[in-house]
Symmetry: C2
Subunit: 587 residues, 2 copies
């Protein structure tokens, strides 16, 4: 199964769902129009489908290996990465002043999707580098930017995020790694970091570690953490990497999936680090960049889902088995004709396209928030980020599992490839903050903190879309009916959570993940509905009937088959949390 990047749908999402009418007026993006973006994505799509996608299966088998203190990746990965650098793909969304191409975030999200669908293990290295670039752009000094940004944006160097320690996973306040200031102003960093994605490898000339650590007199807990740049190789005055820093890879993990992405244990032994910003504000800086990284992991969910869907669709078209249940034919037919196979494929497709639509919209909001000072836009963008992360990653596990199921017994055989997506997908709801962390972020920071104002604006915008759907044809009206029910479930749950949070905080948070899934499911359905309106307008204008018809069909399927989950989640929130808190776990 070759991978066909969904450039047409990605461009549809950028044009119709990413608030392009507003984003395109931002000065930062004045130089780019849709054809530009389309051409860039087509070029990247060609690179990814031809050079990266073939790495996926081989890399899964070979895996990242750890030998004699070094991480070994398949040779083909190094060659493809060198091509990636040579063609300058790391630069796509980064600022022109540091060598970037400066495309808007929706285009960046499209590129992240394509790369990670081609090979999630491969895609993780640039994804982490993006995170390091974002962090340095937002919080680095001018000197730090001058030293590190250009090589990172070129892809010649890669970046890592060093947060987790054995005792400090979701709770970063427990981080113990020490940072002791030296006379020359640098810091000596000592401690052990685990789960460091691409923490060691030889794809790049240098690796720039961003490390959370604690200075000797820092307060305990999360407010005593500082953020440091720790280059794997010290950077000379001419900007080239020189002597090794004292950061050593101790081992890499044997993982369920993304096996060609090395997950390192790094030992920092008085390694030289450079403070970013001010001491004790490290977690705050991390949180700034966390939104971007979480968003990208959500996009990885769309990526794995789409690859799993394409593989299952290809198999369902070719595999002949069983006569039609309606008796129309006497011979066995391709299994795509069987109603339940269609059901599984349409679940996969509609969830994938729903996630893509939601991600494009969120990317546009993030751009608008970044380049303007409208607090409501910023609040809505921040509200959407945990939805993208939570929905797209949890649903990716479901979609990849359906992908195995479509293949029947063949799906359980590793050679088929469906099982790899099922394994790869499983990390997505865990890293960059588990689903529960996303849900706490949504409920605590993005709903309770403003008394539900942003959440209510979100619902009001959905109601606006419903009003447009009500003026449409029968399909539009049917989508609108389901959307209204799901929105009502959201508002009921929201009221209950706001009310309950004032008197029983445990009960409110017991409903946080159901609320996240309700909100994410609703948001994806909303954006698909907006897409259906745009598709109908295009159809009415005589444009691309097969594609536009399919967009509407997908939105309708989602509305009638996925949105009903919102009502179940609402019931769990309103009626399920007391029994959850009261139950015992007897020995």
């Amino acid at each position: 199964m070759s991978y066909q990047p969904p450039v047409k749908d990605l461009m549809f999402c950028i044009e119709h769902l990413s608030h392009w009418d507003q984003v395109s007026t931002l000065p930062a993006y004045a130089d780019h129009d849709l054809p530009d973006i389309g051409a860039a994505l087509e070029g990247f799509a060609q690179f990814c489908s031809e050079q990266v996608a073939p790495l996926s299966r081989a890399g899964d088998i070979a895996g990242a290996r750890f030998e004699a203190g070094r991480v070994i990746l398949p040779e083909a990965n190094a060659e493809a990465y060198a091509q990636f650098v040579e063609m300058g793909w790391q630069a796509l969304t980064h600022p022109v002043e540091y060598g970037g191409i400066g495309l808007p975030r929706a285009a960046g999200a499209a590129a992240v999707e394509i790369l990670n669908a081609a090979d999630t293990s491969f895609g993780l290295c640039p994804l982490l580098t993006d995170g390091a670039i974002e962090a340095l752009l937002l919080t680095g000094s001018d000197e730090q930017k001058a030293t590190y940004l250009e090589p990172l944006i070129s892809g010649r160097w890669s970046g890592t995020m060093n947060l987790t320690e054995p005792q400090a996973g979701s709770d970063l306040g427990l981080v113990k790694t020490k940072a002791t200031q030296r006379d020359d102003g640098t810091y000596g960093i000592s401690g052990t970091k685990i789960f460091i994605t691409y923490g060691a490898h030889d794809l790049t000339e240098n690796i720039i570690h961003l490390v959370l650590a604690r200075t000797p007199d820092a307060p305990a807990g999360p407010k005593g953490l500082s953020l440091f740049i720790v280059p794997q190789k010290m950077v000379g005055p001419d900007g080239t990497p020189g002597a090794e820093n004292t950061v050593n890879c101790v081992s890499i993990e044997h993982k369920l999936g993304v096996c060609a992405s090395p997950t390192a244990v790094l030992d920092y032994d008085d390694a030289t680090g450079f403070l970013i910003g001010e001491e004790n504000r490290g977690l705050e800086y991390m949180f700034i960049m966390m939104n971007a990284a979480r968003f990208s992991v959500g996009v990885q969910g769309i990526a794995v889902s789409d690859r799993a869907y394409q593989r299952a669709l290809g198999y369902a078209r070719e595999r002949v088995q069983s006569r039609p249940v309606n008796g129309e034919a006497r011979d066995a037919v391709a299994i795509i004709s069987h109603p339940d196979v269609r059901r599984m494929l349409l679940r996969m497709r509609s969830i994938t396209e729903g996630g893509r639509a939601m991600a494009a919209a969120t990317a546009g909001l993030l751009d608008m928030a970044h380049h303007s000072d409208d607090p409501q836009t910023a609040a809505l963008a921040e509200f959407m980020v945990p939805l993208v992360k939570g929905f797209c990653t949890e649903r990716a596990v479901e979609v990849a599992s359906l992908g195995v199921q479509v293949h029947g017994g063949m799906g359980f055989i590793e050679e088929t490839g469906a099982a790899q997506h099922y394994r790869d997908a499983r990390i997505l709801p865990i890293y960059e903050g588990t689903t529960a962390i996303q849900a706490n972020d949504l409920l605590g920071r993005k709903v309770m903190r403003d008394g539900g104002d942003t959440a209510r604006r979100f619902a009001a915008r959905i109601a606006d879309t419903e009003a447009l759907l009500a003026q449409g044809n029968a399909d539009a009206q049917a989508i609108g009916t389901s959307l209204a029910q799901a929105r009502a479930a959201f508002e009921t749950a929201l009221d209950w959570l706001l009310d309950t949070s004032r008197k029983d905080i445990d009960a409110a948070f017991a409903g946080s993940v159901p609320f996240l899934m309700l909100s994410g499911t609703l948001a994806a359905g909303w954006k698909l509905a907006k897409g259906a309106l745009a598709a109908q307008a295009a159809l009415d204008a005589g444009q691309d009937a097969p594609f536009m018809t399919s967009k509407i069909a997908t939105a309708l399927f989602y509305a009638q088959n996925i949105l009903p989950d919102c009502t179940a989640e609402q019931a769990r929130i309103l009626h399920g949390t007391r029994s959850l808190l009261d139950a015992d776990f007897p020995e």
Copy 2:
């Protein structure tokens, strides 16, 4: 993490949910009382937890290997299997006249759960042998029974089911393997069978293959299949295995999970086979035994779920991370205190116990159906089997996935063990008939064929339980309220499906899997509710307060957190099938 067989809950289910008041009066089971069964299960539990459970992780790593035409299993597996035979555990549920112990099916289901929770790969060999025994008991000649049953029931020989061929998976009508009668009355069997679980191994003295094949003049399609016994080693007049038959293992599969269970490709090269029953009735015989095998695979789902739950619970008790969300403590606490971890664990527990309750009830119905001639009991038993298979296996994937999630990043590391359950679980909704096959069986054979009579009796029995719950305390009433809503969703969906099946068969079958999941989710909730009533009675009598309280809490959690899915499934059935059938899949 050691495995603790849930003998207490299994005995609770046998006593209160397996129709024990009626099953125990059947002459076949007159010799066994509950203490007997409890003692047998305790003994088996000790064997499984001590001898089998430790094989699971090592076997996953080593896997079944294929070398020089032979299948190699880990040496420890062979030693444990020899113990299993020596202690006579294969005999548990089989008839006394052939050397069995003759326990009722609910006890057998309990044993299947315990063995497969200890190690699913190991458990598959006895499970397949059970299937072969069942088939021979029901359809074999006296001579065949005399030759094969005792060695199979002793566990000295094992059994296999040979159905699948590359072109014939779900659709057995496409089977091509040839069976040509010889002058001596035996048949020469030639063809290739794939996906043969324990098709080749050296745990036993002999392997008895049951093979579907086609005689030269047989009609095309499913009505031209005959069933044959093909021993791996020919059995001499003294009953001992002698010369090798011409059945060769060509390769074994590299699978996502159950890696220590060899999945063989078998080449039959004019192998000697013995016809079972009459020619062309092979599929009919297979269907007789299929109900039993499908039921056992459903029980495997409970087994994997429980092992995943126990592992996650153990981790959640030990792992300390983050302060309570309610601010009650300033230090980090064990994560089992966090509401969302409790939510995940209770989902895991309630789904597992719900499946166990439903399986015990179904086992009792199967015994009553087998030993009496009440057609309504038989129909209800047959109605329940696809529910057990569909619900327990699909939900096992969800439960195992939650088990990974509870572990956070550690869950993605293979050493932790949670990932293995996620991999192992994935085969369960596929083999012995995919979920779609179960759903077609439910809707086509068990609902439409009798015009919904059995399904309505199922609903009426649930309403009886609701009436009892309404007379109980607040918890019982709350369970009853949720159960009534779920039953109403079932009845609405049932009416729609029966009506739609008369005019749009595709639309009806487009809703078959949602209906299966609705029915299974409802049935498990119903049996948990019955269990809660029994637990309340025990509590009122002063018995085992922690256990009985926990049973009620689990039932309440399930009613309020899992049963709401029924309403979503109903919505999909009533409103989602048209968009499912109308959507295109453009190239």
